[in-house]
Symmetry: C2
Subunit: 197 residues, 2 copies
């Protein structure tokens, strides 16, 4: 539809996840028509990011160094490890400021449909981290969906043999939510996990 390079730019933006053809066109024209909108930093980052970013050799989080900022921080509690599916989950939990321990990123969840088995996840590395006896609690923070629950069940069985307390994040009503609109599984979990006041 457009002359060469403009169409190419739209097509390249359209390849990014969550960006359809209309959004891609809007972005491309915004860049073209806003004279002081500098995209040279994005251009530079896109060509550098693959070389510069690696995954923390301890926990699997994204990092620019061999060990990520959380694993390097001596103030973090090394006796608790929170197991998550993805590096994005680390950022989500960090935003709560509720957790001061370390993380372990599995790199996904067990899913027979997607062909992901336990050997595709960083489970061996987790077992190695638990071997020296420092860790006293493992919090399983995989997603509360079918794959995440299956992974949590698998891990809890595996960790059962070690003398480590294994916990799972609470399921229940989301804060600020409406009881009326909660799905029956969530509401059932909220009853199951009710606390005395």
């Amino acid at each position: 539809m457009y002359d060469g390079i403009v169409q190419e730019l739209i097509d390249e933006f359209g390849r990014l996840p969550g960006i359809g053809p209309k959004s891609a066109q809007r972005i491309a024209f915004h860049i073209l028509q806003t004279p002081n909108f500098d995209m040279s930093r994005l251009a530079q980052l896109l060509s550098e990011v693959r070389e510069k970013v690696r995954f923390c050799e301890v926990c699997g989080n994204v990092s620019e160094q061999e060990r990520c900022a959380i694993c390097r921080d001596p103030r973090r509690d090394a006796t608790v490890i929170c197991v998550v599916e993805d590096a994005k989950d680390v950022a989500a939990i960090e935003r709560t400021r509720e957790f001061r321990g370390l993380y372990h990123v599995l790199g996904g969840a067990i899913s027979p449909i997607a062909g992901v088995g336990p050997d595709d996840l960083r489970i061996t590395q987790l077992m190695q981290r638990l071997a020296d006896g420092t860790v006293r609690e493992v919090i399983l923070a995989t997603n509360p969906n079918l794959e995440g629950e299956a992974t949590a069940t698998y891990l809890s069985r595996l960790l059962h043999t070690l003398e480590i307390s294994v916990t799972r994040l609470a399921s229940g009503l989301p804060v600020g939510g409406d009881l009326e609109y909660a799905d029956e599984v969530t509401l059932g979990r909220a009853f199951e996990g009710r606390r005395s006041l």
Copy 2:
């Protein structure tokens, strides 16, 4: 939240129009975690696009050459000019395959609130194109909103002195729409512009 370059990448994507922090994070991680997802072409385009893309000196459409592909095409009908606000509108009209004439991109619409007056638009260039008498019809295809209507009214008064037929795109019910959900102004326009069958 993330180590240096990852956060920078998220921030840069977040500056693009229509991309919030969550989408930016999703895009950044998609790039990081998909090994065969090559973004080097996008990096290259972003650093080149400003130099390579100019605006057609005749119609104001985006172009890689002095004159855009439409103005260069000898098969286009040079007696009809369709006046639009933006280069994106050219692409939208081209997709209909209904129009075989030429375009004129104003570069916006008259808007006292945004401080855009007639002198900020490519109206002088339009008058110059009409001077030699080749053009017999000018179709005003500015948006059917307050600013677009004001611009169309302004232009129709200006073109009144010339011996050129001035038309406006029809307003009415969108095809595939529901009469029940049409707003009263659109429905009013549909009545006003009713055709005999």
